[in-house]
């Protein structure tokens, strides 16, 4: 199997895996970073969202061989103490129900705010439409993002 060197949350990891192994399974099965979730395997639900540099991507559909020197950030690396403004807002609004999709939602929202600090309601909805929540926490997700957007330093 080929060896890959990937940068995750500021650390370099050497992994020895199949070249088509999606980043999701590298994170979960090889590196033991389980905050990134498996939902669909086809980039349809967003549960596996991580950042590739500053962009939200679906890690279930990115083969490890394509990552190269790009920097990966997962929920474990979003903030040092679990206190990213979005994480705080998620707690303030008690967003999660089952909680399974929420790390993907938070990662997607964090990438949105990096490129657009003050998104409109419509822009938030458009940006978040790739992230499914079966429990139906969309209203509180929207509230939480709105409560953070426009604040000074994001991420």
């Amino acid at each position: 199997m080929p060896k890959y060197s990937i940068q995750v949350n500021g650390k370099t990891h050497e992994v020895d895996v199949l070249e088509d192994m999606p980043l999701l399974w590298v994170l979960r099965d090889i590196l033991g970073m389980k905050g990134t979730k498996f939902g669909c395997g086809r980039a349809l639900c967003g549960a596996c969202t991580v950042h590739l540099n500053d962009t939200a991507v679906r890690s279930c559909s990115i083969p490890v061989s394509t990552i190269g020197q790009n920097k990966i950030t997962t929920i474990e690396g979003l903030s040092e103490k679990g206190d990213h403004p979005l994480q705080q807002a998620w707690e303030k609004f008690i967003v999660p129900q089952c909680g399974y999709c929420q790390t993907g939602q938070i990662m997607n929202a964090a990438a949105l705010l990096k490129r657009n600090a003050k998104p409109s309601e419509e822009e938030i909805e458009q940006a978040m439409q790739g992230n499914l929540c079966r429990c139906g926490t969309y209203n509180r997700i929207l509230q939480a993002i709105q409560s953070v957007s426009g604040r000074t330093v994001i991420g």
Partner: protein, 761 residues
């Protein structure tokens, strides 16, 4: 009139009986004992310095350690309702604990110890509110006795607060931890001597308490089934027969075995027909070093199937067949008055057929389970709603007794009824046994969409008659759908009383003639329960027909419903049901009847909240429906905006009466989420089957709503009540769909008779 029993229930498969009983159909909850048996008042353990220390454990749900830490056992599964927080807070409130010193421990599957653990049917709070209060009050009693003796004061003068016993008169306080040793010597008080708090004394019940897993969830540290791991664990993916009842005929695994990391290919024997819920489907498993290799190799398996008798099954043809059945006379399941006469004398007869599709659960966490089989024992980690059911099923599959099977319950990444079926857990156990090392079975999304226990399709016909006095004089409801019972017993072709009792048998309106009839429908797939179960199609048909009746009577829909409910009264149905046993969600109907007054109250409240009757812009309108389920009264108003064929939902209003409200925030969140869940049902989700195979694959073809199309503002009013607490997980779902359909009619003039709604059709 000929009244035929719907089906003969066979005594055959004992396991099936257990599951069905613990679901909701057959036994009354009272007979299932709430549990909470005392293990021992106090026990000793060693602290870090090796010193023997006493802890107080007056209930299986509660232990207080000498350092003041309070351990509360969550014995129900957390799938997003907040139950892991809401039941423990009841214990803590009654105890007078300091919530910040409470640690919640998830129970393993052990119903002998904890009582019922099958987390479904929206009954966790209903069944365990009182036992949890008693657990807290028992410990409180003992701690107070210990403190009172120490201080030489009357126990009646003492109280607990914030983790301490307090003697107000003297200002003395003692921390719980300092009292546990003495309290352990106090005799456990009988339940009737316990003094429970007056509602005015509650500090947590009736307020909003954040879920205890909140922080872990947002930092990615919460442990779901998929996250459970043990040393030397391997991963499995399974190619299952695409048709229920089919079997592996032959297979070629050379391509699969060539994938790097693949360890084994193993055939799994299927449960056949009936499929049951505790046996796997026939399939071929690939076990590998990592999930990806297992999935990749699984997709390379070449399997030839013996597809069995369901290979020709076509769901669209089934609906057409049931549409022909439903116009005939059916098996009579409820009778009041003479519907034939009502129809004969009617001034107006309204008749419509209602169609709803198969649906899948689509939990974002697909089924998965981890099993270790070693030295005649099996240990499981799984996202299960029913750990004891899983334990018994695994024991049976492995030929062990349940004492040799341990089931650890993780968080569940959504469940909605899917994860009360242990088929996927049995798969893991069988593979782990065969392999001799720990195996995690991981379902892909395609596996989940193709091999679910589906919400059954349904065809209903309702005939409503209006007499010369403009009164609703007759109601005739025909129903045909494959029963959940058929999943356990292939001879079942008619709905059970439990299924019908979810909005059809319990039609509450004051109508002189009522007749409910059912028709045969055979099952060809695995049918199961999905959040609110048969209430979904039954509330859709009833709720939209009642709106049509309002129109025919030239009445406002709210006024019509209040009028149809009639005088405040308590209904029991039993005299009108041939078998004489309306199931009432396993609650004694004599004690908990259908109370029209409570429903009228929520209807009036929701109308007020929504500003019902106010003028809305062209293309916008409100629709209303009310539906009781799981003992909870719900009225719902949905506001829609329709542009072309595009439906958006700016506002949803709910008013509900769930008796005592335990955790206000989680009740609200269940209703917010319920509106979203029901929007998927009403507008998006449909499973179709051709040649015995499910035609949808993933979230591209099996659709659930996304944020842009989700209802925007969801307003929830909770009626203040001190009655027995009732369900909130499922009750938000049923009323929403008919309210939405009625709003669409009000906005467009188009009545909806088929789900999901397609305005382009």
């Amino acid at each position: 009139m000929k009244i035929v029993p719907p089906f003969q229930k066979k005594s055959g498969n004992v396991r099936s009986e257990i599951f069905m009983a613990s679901r909701r159909d057959f036994l009354r909850i009272g007979g299932l004992a709430a549990g909470g048996f005392v293990l021992g008042v106090s026990f000793f353990s060693c602290n870090e310095k090796g010193k023997k220390v006493a802890s107080l454990a007056p209930s299986v749900y509660l232990t207080i350690h000498p350092d003041g830490e309070v351990i509360i056992v969550a014995h129900r599964s957390e799938m997003g309702t907040g139950i892991r927080t809401s039941l423990p807070l009841v214990v803590a409130d009654e105890l007078g604990a300091d919530w910040s010193r409470v640690r919640i421990v998830q129970a393993e599957g052990d119903e002998k110890k904890y009582g019922n653990q099958n987390t479904d049917g929206s009954f966790s709070i209903r069944m365990f509110y009182l036992p949890m209060r008693q657990a807290g009050a028992t410990a409180k009693f003992m701690l107070i006795q210990a403190a009172a003796q120490k201080w030489n004061v009357a126990a009646a003068e003492c109280d607990t607060d914030n983790g301490q016993v307090v003697h107000k008169a003297s200002g003395k306080t003692a921390a719980f931890g300092d009292l546990v040793e003495a309290a352990g010597k106090v005799a456990i008080p009988p339940l009737d001597q316990l003094k429970l708090k007056d509602p005015g004394q509650f500090k947590m019940i009736g307020r909003a308490t954040p879920i205890i897993d909140l922080h872990d969830i947002v930092i990615g540290k919460a442990v779901f089934g998929i996250d459970a791991a043990v040393d030397n664990m391997k991963y499995a993916a399974i190619k299952r027969c695409p048709v229920v009842g089919g079997n592996v005929k032959s297979y070629k695994a050379d391509k699969a075995l060539a994938v790097t990391g693949v360890l084994k290919v193993i055939v799994i024997k299927g449960g056949g027909i009936p499929p049951t819920i505790h046996k796997p489907l026939s399939g071929v498993a690939v076990v590998a070093d990592n999930t990806w290799a297992a999935i990749k190799a699984r997709d390379l398996l070449e399997v030839e199937w013996d597809l069995g008798p369901n290979a020709g099954y076509d769901s669209a043809a089934h609906i057409e067949e049931l549409k022909k059945e439903i116009v005939k006379d059916g098996t009579v399941r409820r009778v009041r008055g003479d519907f034939g006469m009502a129809k004969k004398n009617a001034k107006k007869v309204i008749e419509h057929t209602y169609i709803a599709p198969y649906m899948a659960h689509g939990t974002i966490e697909p089924p998965n389970a981890l099993a270790v089989v070693k030295d005649g024992n099996c240990e499981i980690w799984a996202c299960t709603q029913n750990p004891q059911g899983a334990r018994d099923s695994v024991a049976e599959a492995l030929g062990l007794t349940a004492e040799h099977v341990k089931v650890n319950v993780t968080l569940l990444g959504g469940a909605f009824g899917r994860k009360s079926k242990p088929d996927f857990i049995v798969e893991a156990a069988l593979l782990a046994k065969e392999c001799g090392f720990p195996v995690k079975v991981q379902w892909t999304r395609e596996d989940d969409i193709h091999h679910d226990f589906y919400h059954a399709l349904s065809v209903q016909r309702i005939v409503a008659t209006i007499d010369t006095n403009n009164k609703l004089s007759g109601w005739n409801h025909h129903l045909a759908y494959p029963s959940i019972g058929a999943t356990f017993d292939a001879s079942v072709v008619q709905p059970s009383d439990g299924e019908l009792g979810q909005g059809a048998l319990d039609f509450p309106y004051d109508v002189p003639a009522i007749k409910v009839e059912t028709h045969d429908a055979t099952s060809h797939i695995r049918v199961g329960w999905l959040r609110s179960v048969r209430n979904i199609p039954q509330a859709f048909a009833v709720g939209t027909m009642v709106d049509e009746i309002a129109e025919a009577r030239k009445m406002d829909p709210i006024a019509n419903s209040l009028d149809l409910l009639g005088a405040d009264r308590s209904i029991t149905f039993n005299s009108e049901i041939p078998k004489g046993a309306y199931p009432n969600y396993n609650e004694d109907i004599a004690k908990y009847p259908w109370e029209t007054g409570r429903m009228k109250k929520v209807i009036e409240r929701v109308a007020k909240d929504a500003g019902w009757g106010k003028k809305l812009p062209q293309g916008s309108a409100m629709g209303f429906a009310a539906h009781k389920s799981f003992l909870t009264y719900v009225a719902c108003i949905v506001e829609v905006k329709v542009e072309g064929n595009k439906i958006s939902i700016p506002n949803v209003y709910y008013a509900l009466d769930c008796g005592t409200a335990v955790n206000m925030d989680r009740i609200r969140s269940q209703f917010e989420g319920g509106a979203q869940f029901s929007t998927s049902i009403a507008l998006k989700s449909e499973i179709t089957i051709k040649n015995g195979r499910v035609e949808q694959n993933n979230f591209d073809s099996y659709k659930i709503i996304r944020m842009p199309e989700s209802p925007k503002n969801i307003h929830v009013s909770i009626i203040d009540s001190q009655d027995k607490p009732t369900g909130v997980g499922e009750p938000p779902v049923p009323a929403f769909t008919p309210a939405l359909c009625n709003a669409i009619y009000a906005a467009t003039g188009k009545r909806i008779y088929k789900l999901p709604v397609d305005l382009g059709a």
